[in-house]
């Protein structure tokens, strides 16, 4: 396959195969296959309320309908984001929690420390995960696994038998395209990889393309755009915080809401093909007013795009900014998200 490999979160990961832009284009037009086995998966089984899980995240676990999943946060006492994650309601008393690779050991320890009961297990090593993403992914999945896949709506999943084992097929992803995340016992993941690639509409894509795809639709990358020093309020992610329930970090967030944030996430487009990059300065009137947390050349838009944090008064759409780094300087304008608005994610 001739993949360029690199270490990531303690795993050896494929960064690229044919090339980042070619893989990106394939995902936007056909179906791209990503090896995402590095992500962490935990199982909680028990009573969500008496076991303490209900208060762990910024959203309610018990109110997630069976067969649905929900995105949100694990916060520290200061309201900083320990991780962003998705919880899958597998059974009345059982959920799967899917977390980022680099944060998985810490997440597990923090969650376990907040539980008062129930059975909590780390199934990361035993679980394989492949993402099939792109406008043709549904057709491919239906051909391989049957009509049941066709009916899965966005943020729902089904459990079904694949290759003789039980797998979860979830209509979620990180690309802004129609797509699926498939969780399967690790010993079958290579067989599933080969099966999916046997369809000529499917080509492999690496983490390099995945990063471009996610930024084009404005998804946050943990460790770059959000971290323990960043609250969901600053990051423009308040929609994933339910203030009608109890959760760790709620008091801190309420204080921030009352006092107002001191910095705010902005999305910006560059006038030209230069790429803003992580840690570049964001300037206004010759003064440094923030920094870039993610930036890239967008192949679909043909210009540089980025996300960063600035003083709140400079976060209005249309605000002109300058992105500076050493000899490099580029003019940019604050814009709305997503950058790329024509994805097939809800098709």
């Amino acid at each position: 396959m001739n993949a360029l490999m690199a270490p990531f979160g303690g795993w050896n990961m494929p960064i690229q195969y044919a090339g980042i832009i070619a893989e990106h284009n394939w995902c936007r037009t056909k179906a791209a296959l990503f090896d995402i086995c590095h992500m962490g998966e935990f199982i909680f089984q028990g009573d969500f309320e008496s076991g303490g899980l209900e208060d762990v995240f910024t959203f309610s676990v018990k109110s997630i309908p069976l067969g649905r999943s929900r995105y949100g946060f694990l916060l520290n006492e200061q309201g900083g984001i320990i991780d962003d994650l998705i919880v899958f309601r597998i059974a009345g008393d059982k959920v799967m929690i899917v977390v980022n690779a680099a944060t998985a050991p810490k997440d597990f320890a923090v969650i376990r420390g907040r539980l008062r009961g129930g059975l909590f297990t780390d199934i990361t090593a035993a679980t394989g995960k492949l993402d099939l993403q792109g406008p043709l992914s549904r057709d491919v999945m239906v051909k391989l696994f049957g009509e049941a896949v066709a009916a899965i709506p966005y943020f729902k999943f089904i459990t079904m038998n694949i290759l003789g084992v039980e797998a979860i097929i979830s209509r979620t992803g990180y690309t802004g395209e129609l797509g699926y995340e498939i969780f399967i016992p690790a010993e079958k993941v290579c067989e599933l990889w080969d099966l999916l690639l046997s369809d000529e509409r499917v080509k492999p894509a690496g983490l390099g393309a995945r990063d471009v795809l996610r930024l084009e639709v404005g998804y946050s990358l943990y460790g770059s755009d959000i971290d323990e020093e960043t609250t969901p309020l600053e990051a423009g992610l308040e929609g994933f915080v339910n203030f009608d329930k109890t959760f760790v970090g709620k008091e801190a967030l309420l204080r921030v809401k009352e006092q107002g944030v001191t910095r705010q996430k902005v999305a910006f487009e560059v006038a030209g093909r230069r790429s803003p990059r992580h840690h570049y300065d964001i300037c206004s009137a010759e003064e440094i007013v923030g920094n870039v947390t993610s930036g890239v050349f967008s192949p679909v838009l043909g210009r540089g795009i980025g996300i960063g944090f600035v003083r709140p008064e400079l976060s209005a759409i249309g605000t002109p900014l300058t992105i500076n780094h050493e000899r490099v300087s580029m003019e940019a304008v604050v814009c709305d998200l997503p950058f790329f608005k024509d994805g097939s994610v809800r098709a």
């Binding site: 090339g19 832009i21 790429s275 990059r277």
Partner: protein, 123 residues
């Protein structure tokens, strides 16, 4: 026409007192998909190993250094709208600038093709 290389992976093809400059296939491959090329201005005076321009890929941004001292007399404007040519044809279509050479003796500071090939093996 002779071709010479820098340790920073620029090449220069010398014909008379004019040097044509680009980046090596090795550099283009290492950078990956090229998304932007910053060319020098015509008339700019550059020093050997001084900054001539810059190049960006999906993965990285990098300066381009001038293999020789001189004055920029032509630039390859086509790269501004089609930087991917650097990946497709780094040693031909994707030349970046032509320089009127000030001091041919500076060629002694550069590597020949064979020397550059050996140098690549050490990286």
């Amino acid at each position: 026409m002779s071709i010479y290389f820098t340790r920073e992976h620029e090449w220069v093809k010398v014909a008379g007192n004019v040097g044509t400059v680009g980046i090596s296939p090795h550099a283009a491959h290492e950078l990956g998909d090229i998304t932007f090329v910053e060319l020098p201005k015509i008339g700019a005076v550059v020093k050997q190993f001084g900054v001539l321009g810059s190049i960006e890929s999906v993965k990285a941004a990098s300066d381009i250094f001038s293999p020789l001292s001189g004055t920029v007399i032509t630039v390859n404007d086509a790269l501004e709208t089609a930087p991917e040519v650097v990946n497709e044809s780094p040693e031909d279509s994707a030349w970046m600038a032509q320089i009127e050479i000030t001091d041919a003796a500076e060629l002694n500071n550069l590597m020949t093709q064979d020397q550059y090939n050996d140098y690549l093996k050490t990286l």
